[in-house]
Amino acid sequence: MKDYKALTQQYEIDVYPRRDVVLVKGKDARLWDDNGKEYIDLAAGISVANIGHSNEKVVDAISKQAATLITCANTFYNDTKALFLEKLFSVAPANLTRAFLTNSGTEAVEAAIKFARAVTKKTKFIATMKGFHGRTYGALSATYKKEYRDIFEPLVPGFSFAPYNNFEKLSELVDDGTAGIILEPVQGEGGINIGQKEYFQKVRKLCDEKNILLIIDEIQTGFCRTGKMFAIEHLGIEADMMTLAKSIAGGFPMGALLCSDKIQIEKGKHGSTFGGNPLACAAGIASIDFMLENKLWEQAEAKGKYFREKLEQHTLSKMRELRQIGLMIGIELKDKSHPVIIELLEKGIVTLPAGTTVLRLLPPLVISYEDLDTAIEKLVEVLK
Protein backbone atom coordinates (compact mmCIF):
# COMPACT_ATOMS: atom_id res chain seq x y z
CA MET A 1 0.00 0.00 0.00
CA LYS A 2 1.26 3.51 -0.77
CA ASP A 3 2.35 5.68 2.14
CA TYR A 4 -0.19 8.50 1.76
CA LYS A 5 1.25 10.59 4.58
CA ALA A 6 4.77 10.44 3.13
CA LEU A 7 3.55 11.32 -0.37
CA THR A 8 1.60 14.31 0.94
CA GLN A 9 4.51 15.48 3.07
CA GLN A 10 6.82 15.15 0.08
CA TYR A 11 4.70 17.00 -2.46
CA GLU A 12 2.34 19.42 -0.72
CA ILE A 13 3.33 22.83 0.64
CA ASP A 14 3.21 22.20 4.35
CA VAL A 15 0.80 24.91 5.54
CA TYR A 16 -1.58 22.65 7.49
CA PRO A 17 -0.73 21.46 11.02
CA ARG A 18 -2.16 18.00 10.35
CA ARG A 19 -3.66 15.23 12.47
CA ASP A 20 -1.94 11.87 12.08
CA VAL A 21 -4.87 10.23 10.29
CA VAL A 22 -5.59 9.45 6.61
CA LEU A 23 -9.32 9.81 6.02
CA VAL A 24 -10.55 7.81 3.05
CA LYS A 25 -14.32 7.51 3.33
CA GLY A 26 -17.35 9.28 4.78
CA LYS A 27 -21.07 8.64 5.08
CA ASP A 28 -23.51 10.96 6.86
CA ALA A 29 -21.80 11.80 10.22
CA ARG A 30 -19.25 8.97 10.07
CA LEU A 31 -15.70 8.94 8.70
CA TRP A 32 -13.22 6.09 8.17
CA ASP A 33 -9.44 6.11 8.00
CA ASP A 34 -7.17 3.93 5.85
CA ASN A 35 -6.93 1.35 8.65
CA GLY A 36 -10.68 0.98 8.76
CA LYS A 37 -11.10 2.87 12.05
CA GLU A 38 -14.48 4.58 12.29
CA TYR A 39 -14.99 8.11 13.63
CA ILE A 40 -17.99 10.21 14.59
CA ASP A 41 -17.55 13.52 12.81
CA LEU A 42 -18.19 16.66 14.87
CA ALA A 43 -16.46 18.92 12.35
CA ALA A 44 -18.17 18.31 8.99
CA GLY A 45 -15.01 19.48 7.20
CA ILE A 46 -15.43 22.85 8.98
CA SER A 47 -19.20 23.13 8.51
CA VAL A 48 -19.10 21.91 4.92
CA ALA A 49 -20.91 18.56 5.17
CA ASN A 50 -24.10 19.94 6.77
CA ILE A 51 -26.20 17.41 4.83
CA GLY A 52 -23.78 14.58 5.68
CA HIS A 53 -20.82 13.07 3.87
CA SER A 54 -21.48 11.62 0.43
CA ASN A 55 -25.14 12.53 0.56
CA GLU A 56 -26.89 10.30 -1.99
CA LYS A 57 -28.88 13.13 -3.53
CA VAL A 58 -25.70 15.12 -4.18
CA VAL A 59 -23.76 12.08 -5.43
CA ASP A 60 -26.54 11.35 -7.90
CA ALA A 61 -26.79 14.99 -9.07
CA ILE A 62 -23.02 15.30 -9.60
CA SER A 63 -22.86 11.96 -11.45
CA LYS A 64 -25.68 12.90 -13.82
CA GLN A 65 -24.33 16.39 -14.45
CA ALA A 66 -20.79 15.08 -15.03
CA ALA A 67 -22.11 12.86 -17.78
CA THR A 68 -23.93 15.83 -19.34
CA LEU A 69 -21.79 19.00 -19.10
CA ILE A 70 -18.97 19.67 -16.63
CA THR A 71 -17.80 23.12 -17.61
CA CYS A 72 -19.46 26.10 -19.25
CA ALA A 73 -17.93 29.54 -19.76
CA ASN A 74 -19.84 32.26 -17.98
CA THR A 75 -20.23 34.10 -21.28
CA PHE A 76 -22.90 31.49 -22.09
CA TYR A 77 -26.18 30.77 -20.33
CA ASN A 78 -26.52 27.34 -18.73
CA ASP A 79 -29.66 25.46 -17.72
CA THR A 80 -28.28 24.04 -14.44
CA LYS A 81 -26.94 27.40 -13.32
CA ALA A 82 -30.30 29.07 -14.00
CA LEU A 83 -32.11 26.43 -11.94
CA PHE A 84 -29.57 26.74 -9.12
CA LEU A 85 -30.03 30.52 -8.96
CA GLU A 86 -33.80 30.05 -8.81
CA LYS A 87 -33.36 27.51 -5.97
CA LEU A 88 -30.88 29.67 -4.06
CA PHE A 89 -33.15 32.71 -4.13
CA SER A 90 -36.12 30.61 -3.02
CA VAL A 91 -34.39 30.31 0.39
CA ALA A 92 -32.38 33.58 0.50
CA PRO A 93 -33.48 36.68 2.44
CA ALA A 94 -36.05 38.51 0.32
CA ASN A 95 -34.07 41.76 -0.09
CA LEU A 96 -31.16 39.92 -1.72
CA THR A 97 -31.99 39.55 -5.36
CA ARG A 98 -28.90 38.72 -7.40
CA ALA A 99 -25.76 36.63 -6.97
CA PHE A 100 -22.16 36.45 -8.07
CA LEU A 101 -21.13 32.78 -8.00
CA THR A 102 -17.68 31.70 -6.88
CA ASN A 103 -15.73 28.57 -5.97
CA SER A 104 -15.03 29.43 -2.33
CA GLY A 105 -15.87 31.71 0.56
CA THR A 106 -12.80 33.85 0.26
CA GLU A 107 -13.69 34.64 -3.35
CA ALA A 108 -17.16 35.71 -2.24
CA VAL A 109 -15.59 38.06 0.34
CA GLU A 110 -13.21 39.35 -2.33
CA ALA A 111 -16.15 40.17 -4.58
CA ALA A 112 -17.97 41.90 -1.71
CA ILE A 113 -14.97 44.16 -1.02
CA LYS A 114 -14.59 45.05 -4.71
CA PHE A 115 -18.31 45.68 -5.17
CA ALA A 116 -18.49 47.84 -2.03
CA ARG A 117 -15.65 50.02 -3.31
CA ALA A 118 -17.23 50.27 -6.75
CA VAL A 119 -20.71 51.16 -5.48
CA THR A 120 -19.79 53.59 -2.68
CA LYS A 121 -16.66 55.10 -4.31
CA LYS A 122 -15.10 54.77 -0.85
CA THR A 123 -12.23 52.53 0.25
CA LYS A 124 -12.30 51.86 3.99
CA PHE A 125 -13.71 48.80 5.77
CA ILE A 126 -14.39 47.90 9.38
CA ALA A 127 -14.14 44.29 10.52
CA THR A 128 -13.99 42.76 13.98
CA MET A 129 -11.33 41.50 16.32
CA LYS A 130 -11.20 37.70 16.19
CA GLY A 131 -13.10 37.77 12.87
CA PHE A 132 -12.16 35.42 10.03
CA HIS A 133 -13.11 36.03 6.40
CA GLY A 134 -10.54 34.18 4.28
CA ARG A 135 -6.97 33.97 3.06
CA THR A 136 -6.85 35.94 -0.21
CA TYR A 137 -5.61 39.51 0.03
CA GLY A 138 -8.88 41.35 0.47
CA ALA A 139 -10.41 38.72 2.74
CA LEU A 140 -7.18 38.40 4.71
CA SER A 141 -7.16 42.16 5.20
CA ALA A 142 -10.54 41.75 6.94
CA THR A 143 -9.22 38.85 9.04
CA TYR A 144 -7.91 39.78 12.46
CA LYS A 145 -5.42 37.16 13.62
CA LYS A 146 -1.91 38.47 13.16
CA GLU A 147 -0.43 34.98 12.63
CA TYR A 148 -2.42 34.70 9.38
CA ARG A 149 -1.35 38.14 8.21
CA ASP A 150 2.18 39.02 9.28
CA ILE A 151 4.42 37.40 6.66
CA PHE A 152 2.16 38.53 3.81
CA GLU A 153 2.02 42.24 4.63
CA PRO A 154 1.43 44.86 3.36
CA LEU A 155 -2.23 43.90 2.94
CA VAL A 156 -5.03 45.91 1.32
CA PRO A 157 -5.06 49.32 3.05
CA GLY A 158 -8.05 50.82 4.84
CA PHE A 159 -9.12 47.99 7.15
CA SER A 160 -9.63 48.53 10.88
CA PHE A 161 -10.95 46.29 13.65
CA ALA A 162 -13.39 46.77 16.52
CA PRO A 163 -14.18 44.35 19.36
CA TYR A 164 -17.08 42.07 18.37
CA ASN A 165 -20.50 42.95 19.81
CA ASN A 166 -19.21 46.39 20.85
CA PHE A 167 -21.17 49.04 18.93
CA GLU A 168 -19.53 52.02 20.62
CA LYS A 169 -16.01 50.96 19.62
CA LEU A 170 -17.14 50.13 16.08
CA SER A 171 -18.89 53.46 15.58
CA GLU A 172 -15.71 55.29 16.67
CA LEU A 173 -13.94 53.82 13.61
CA VAL A 174 -16.50 55.07 11.08
CA ASP A 175 -15.62 58.10 8.96
CA ASP A 176 -16.57 59.58 5.58
CA GLY A 177 -14.33 57.07 3.81
CA THR A 178 -16.01 53.95 5.20
CA ALA A 179 -17.35 51.81 2.36
CA GLY A 180 -18.34 48.69 4.24
CA ILE A 181 -18.67 46.89 7.54
CA ILE A 182 -18.17 43.13 7.44
CA LEU A 183 -19.50 40.96 10.27
CA GLU A 184 -20.09 37.28 11.00
CA PRO A 185 -23.42 36.58 12.75
CA VAL A 186 -21.46 34.10 14.87
CA GLN A 187 -17.67 34.24 14.92
CA GLY A 188 -16.56 30.72 14.04
CA GLU A 189 -12.77 30.70 13.95
CA GLY A 190 -12.86 33.43 16.61
CA GLY A 191 -14.30 31.02 19.20
CA ILE A 192 -18.05 30.59 18.51
CA ASN A 193 -18.91 34.08 19.71
CA ILE A 194 -22.61 34.68 19.16
CA GLY A 195 -23.70 38.02 17.75
CA GLN A 196 -26.13 40.10 19.79
CA LYS A 197 -29.33 41.17 18.05
CA GLU A 198 -29.23 44.72 19.45
CA TYR A 199 -25.61 45.18 18.27
CA PHE A 200 -26.44 44.12 14.71
CA GLN A 201 -29.53 46.32 14.62
CA LYS A 202 -27.50 49.35 15.71
CA VAL A 203 -24.85 48.59 13.07
CA ARG A 204 -27.57 48.32 10.40
CA LYS A 205 -28.96 51.74 11.39
CA LEU A 206 -25.47 53.27 11.34
CA CYS A 207 -24.85 51.87 7.86
CA ASP A 208 -28.11 53.39 6.62
CA GLU A 209 -27.26 56.79 8.10
CA LYS A 210 -23.69 56.88 6.74
CA ASN A 211 -24.16 55.25 3.30
CA ILE A 212 -22.09 52.24 4.35
CA LEU A 213 -22.73 48.76 2.95
CA LEU A 214 -23.30 46.00 5.50
CA ILE A 215 -21.67 42.72 4.46
CA ILE A 216 -22.81 39.70 6.46
CA ASP A 217 -20.45 36.74 6.26
CA GLU A 218 -22.56 33.56 6.44
CA ILE A 219 -19.86 31.27 5.08
CA GLN A 220 -19.78 29.14 8.23
CA THR A 221 -23.21 29.95 9.68
CA GLY A 222 -25.32 29.57 6.55
CA PHE A 223 -27.51 26.70 5.38
CA CYS A 224 -29.24 25.61 8.60
CA ARG A 225 -26.18 25.45 10.89
CA THR A 226 -27.59 27.79 13.56
CA GLY A 227 -31.19 26.57 13.52
CA LYS A 228 -32.30 28.90 10.73
CA MET A 229 -31.58 28.69 7.00
CA PHE A 230 -29.29 31.71 7.55
CA ALA A 231 -28.12 33.09 10.90
CA ILE A 232 -29.14 36.63 9.87
CA GLU A 233 -32.74 35.49 10.50
CA HIS A 234 -31.96 35.50 14.24
CA LEU A 235 -30.96 39.17 14.05
CA GLY A 236 -33.96 40.91 12.45
CA ILE A 237 -31.86 42.87 9.94
CA GLU A 238 -31.16 42.94 6.21
CA ALA A 239 -27.69 42.70 4.68
CA ASP A 240 -26.59 44.66 1.63
CA MET A 241 -24.39 41.73 0.67
CA MET A 242 -24.12 38.22 2.11
CA THR A 243 -21.26 35.79 1.54
CA LEU A 244 -21.94 32.05 1.32
CA ALA A 245 -19.82 28.94 0.75
CA LYS A 246 -18.88 25.79 2.73
CA SER A 247 -22.13 23.78 2.87
CA ILE A 248 -23.82 25.43 -0.12
CA ALA A 249 -23.22 22.44 -2.42
CA GLY A 250 -23.00 19.45 -0.08
CA GLY A 251 -19.20 19.47 0.01
CA PHE A 252 -18.56 20.35 -3.62
CA PRO A 253 -16.47 23.57 -3.79
CA MET A 254 -18.75 26.55 -4.29
CA GLY A 255 -19.38 30.03 -2.96
CA ALA A 256 -21.73 32.91 -3.64
CA LEU A 257 -22.12 36.58 -2.95
CA LEU A 258 -25.76 37.60 -2.66
CA CYS A 259 -26.51 41.26 -3.31
CA SER A 260 -29.36 43.67 -2.74
CA ASP A 261 -30.55 46.04 -5.46
CA LYS A 262 -28.05 48.64 -4.18
CA ILE A 263 -25.26 46.67 -5.83
CA GLN A 264 -24.90 47.44 -9.55
CA ILE A 265 -21.66 46.43 -11.30
CA GLU A 266 -20.75 47.12 -14.92
CA LYS A 267 -20.20 44.25 -17.33
CA GLY A 268 -16.66 42.94 -17.53
CA LYS A 269 -15.49 44.47 -14.24
CA HIS A 270 -15.43 41.14 -12.37
CA GLY A 271 -15.66 37.48 -13.27
CA SER A 272 -14.64 33.87 -12.74
CA THR A 273 -13.73 30.91 -14.95
CA PHE A 274 -15.19 28.23 -12.72
CA GLY A 275 -17.65 30.19 -10.55
CA GLY A 276 -21.15 28.75 -10.96
CA ASN A 277 -20.00 25.81 -13.09
CA PRO A 278 -22.65 23.19 -13.95
CA LEU A 279 -21.26 20.55 -11.56
CA ALA A 280 -21.27 22.90 -8.57
CA CYS A 281 -24.74 24.15 -9.46
CA ALA A 282 -26.12 20.61 -9.75
CA ALA A 283 -24.66 19.80 -6.34
CA GLY A 284 -26.08 23.05 -4.95
CA ILE A 285 -29.62 22.30 -6.16
CA ALA A 286 -29.49 18.81 -4.63
CA SER A 287 -28.06 20.14 -1.38
CA ILE A 288 -30.69 22.86 -0.90
CA ASP A 289 -33.46 20.41 -1.88
CA PHE A 290 -32.23 18.01 0.80
CA MET A 291 -32.21 20.80 3.41
CA LEU A 292 -35.78 21.77 2.54
CA GLU A 293 -37.14 18.21 2.33
CA ASN A 294 -35.63 17.35 5.73
CA LYS A 295 -36.24 20.74 7.41
CA LEU A 296 -32.60 20.65 8.39
CA TRP A 297 -32.77 23.95 10.31
CA GLU A 298 -35.27 22.34 12.69
CA GLN A 299 -32.94 19.37 13.16
CA ALA A 300 -30.04 21.73 13.97
CA GLU A 301 -32.14 23.59 16.52
CA ALA A 302 -33.44 20.44 18.25
CA LYS A 303 -30.11 18.58 18.25
CA GLY A 304 -28.18 21.62 19.50
CA LYS A 305 -30.60 22.00 22.40
CA TYR A 306 -30.36 18.27 23.14
CA PHE A 307 -26.54 18.43 23.13
CA ARG A 308 -26.47 21.38 25.53
CA GLU A 309 -28.96 19.82 27.95
CA LYS A 310 -27.12 16.49 28.01
CA LEU A 311 -23.65 18.02 28.40
CA GLU A 312 -24.78 20.43 31.13
CA GLN A 313 -25.84 17.47 33.27
CA HIS A 314 -22.13 16.86 33.93
CA THR A 315 -19.53 18.78 35.93
CA LEU A 316 -16.63 19.37 33.56
CA SER A 317 -13.55 20.74 35.34
CA LYS A 318 -11.74 21.64 32.09
CA MET A 319 -14.64 23.66 30.68
CA ARG A 320 -14.99 27.40 31.32
CA GLU A 321 -18.06 28.11 29.17
CA LEU A 322 -20.38 26.45 26.68
CA ARG A 323 -21.61 28.59 23.76
CA GLN A 324 -24.21 27.12 21.41
CA ILE A 325 -26.61 28.18 18.71
CA GLY A 326 -28.18 25.34 16.74
CA LEU A 327 -25.42 22.84 16.00
CA MET A 328 -22.70 25.50 16.15
CA ILE A 329 -21.04 24.78 19.47
CA GLY A 330 -18.01 26.21 21.24
CA ILE A 331 -16.63 24.71 24.43
CA GLU A 332 -14.23 27.22 25.94
CA LEU A 333 -11.57 25.43 27.95
CA LYS A 334 -9.29 26.68 30.70
CA ASP A 335 -6.27 25.40 28.81
CA LYS A 336 -5.27 24.67 25.22
CA SER A 337 -7.78 22.78 23.13
CA HIS A 338 -5.21 20.90 21.02
CA PRO A 339 -4.47 18.06 23.51
CA VAL A 340 -8.22 17.56 24.00
CA ILE A 341 -8.74 17.38 20.23
CA ILE A 342 -6.04 14.70 19.91
CA GLU A 343 -7.44 12.69 22.84
CA LEU A 344 -10.92 12.80 21.32
CA LEU A 345 -9.53 11.72 17.95
CA GLU A 346 -7.96 8.67 19.61
CA LYS A 347 -11.41 7.90 21.03
CA GLY A 348 -12.93 8.14 17.55
CA ILE A 349 -14.36 11.66 17.71
CA VAL A 350 -13.34 14.33 15.16
CA THR A 351 -13.43 17.91 16.49
CA LEU A 352 -11.93 21.30 15.62
CA PRO A 353 -10.20 24.14 17.41
CA ALA A 354 -11.31 27.78 17.32
CA GLY A 355 -8.31 29.73 18.48
CA THR A 356 -6.19 28.34 21.29
CA THR A 357 -8.71 27.45 23.96
CA VAL A 358 -12.02 26.74 22.26
CA LEU A 359 -13.15 23.31 21.14
CA ARG A 360 -15.37 23.87 18.11
CA LEU A 361 -18.12 21.39 17.25
CA LEU A 362 -19.86 21.62 13.87
CA PRO A 363 -21.32 18.15 13.26
CA PRO A 364 -23.20 17.25 10.12
CA LEU A 365 -26.78 18.30 10.85
CA VAL A 366 -27.97 14.82 9.96
CA ILE A 367 -26.05 13.31 12.88
CA SER A 368 -28.15 10.74 14.78
CA TYR A 369 -29.10 11.17 18.45
CA GLU A 370 -27.26 7.89 19.08
CA ASP A 371 -24.02 9.37 17.69
CA LEU A 372 -24.59 12.57 19.68
CA ASP A 373 -24.91 10.47 22.85
CA THR A 374 -21.65 8.64 22.08
CA ALA A 375 -19.88 11.93 21.35
CA ILE A 376 -21.15 13.48 24.61
CA GLU A 377 -19.97 10.41 26.54
CA LYS A 378 -16.45 10.78 25.10
CA LEU A 379 -16.43 14.54 25.68
CA VAL A 380 -17.35 14.00 29.31
CA GLU A 381 -14.53 11.45 29.71
CA VAL A 382 -11.99 13.95 28.35
CA LEU A 383 -13.29 17.15 29.98
CA LYS A 384 -14.35 15.94 33.45
Binding site: G191, P353, T356, T357
Partner: protein, 55 residues
Protein backbone atom coordinates in the same frame (compact mmCIF):
# COMPACT_ATOMS: atom_id res chain seq x y z
CA UNK B 1 -9.03 39.73 41.11
CA UNK B 2 -8.34 42.38 38.50
CA UNK B 3 -5.41 42.96 36.18
CA UNK B 4 -5.00 44.45 32.74
CA UNK B 5 -4.31 43.22 29.22
CA UNK B 6 -0.63 43.76 28.36
CA UNK B 7 -1.58 44.39 24.71
CA UNK B 8 -4.47 46.90 24.87
CA UNK B 9 -4.72 47.82 28.56
CA UNK B 10 -8.31 46.61 28.98
CA UNK B 11 -9.39 45.46 32.45
CA UNK B 12 -9.17 41.69 32.92
CA UNK B 13 -11.24 40.08 35.65
CA UNK B 14 -9.89 36.76 36.91
CA UNK B 15 -12.71 34.53 38.11
CA UNK B 16 -12.64 32.82 41.47
CA UNK B 17 -10.81 29.51 41.21
CA UNK B 18 -8.45 30.72 38.47
CA UNK B 19 -5.11 28.91 38.56
CA UNK B 20 -1.62 29.85 37.31
CA UNK B 21 -1.13 28.73 33.72
CA UNK B 22 -4.83 29.09 32.85
CA UNK B 23 -5.54 30.62 29.44
CA UNK B 24 -8.11 33.32 28.77
CA UNK B 25 -8.90 35.96 26.19
CA UNK B 26 -8.92 39.73 26.49
CA UNK B 27 -12.57 40.75 26.07
CA UNK B 28 -11.57 43.85 24.09
CA UNK B 29 -8.74 42.92 21.74
CA UNK B 30 -9.11 39.14 21.80
CA UNK B 31 -5.48 38.49 22.66
CA UNK B 32 -4.95 35.08 24.21
CA UNK B 33 -3.48 35.53 27.67
CA UNK B 34 -1.88 33.22 30.20
CA UNK B 35 -2.19 33.73 33.96
CA UNK B 36 1.37 34.20 35.28
CA UNK B 37 0.74 34.92 38.98
CA UNK B 38 -2.30 35.31 41.21
CA UNK B 39 -0.74 37.46 43.93
CA UNK B 40 -0.49 39.98 42.44
CA UNK B 41 -2.78 38.98 39.56
CA UNK B 42 -0.79 39.18 36.31
CA UNK B 43 -1.26 37.90 32.76
CA UNK B 44 1.03 37.74 29.73
CA UNK B 45 0.39 37.15 26.02
CA UNK B 46 0.08 33.37 25.56
CA UNK B 47 2.58 31.79 23.18
CA UNK B 48 0.99 30.76 19.87
CA UNK B 49 1.87 27.36 18.49
CA UNK B 50 1.24 26.05 15.03
CA UNK B 51 -1.45 23.62 16.12
CA UNK B 52 -3.60 26.57 17.23
CA UNK B 53 -4.74 27.04 13.66
CA UNK B 54 -8.25 27.43 12.47
CA UNK B 55 -10.42 28.38 9.54
Amino acid sequence: MKTECPVCGAAIELAEGTVVGELLECPDCGTELEVVTLDPPEVKEAPQEEEDWGE
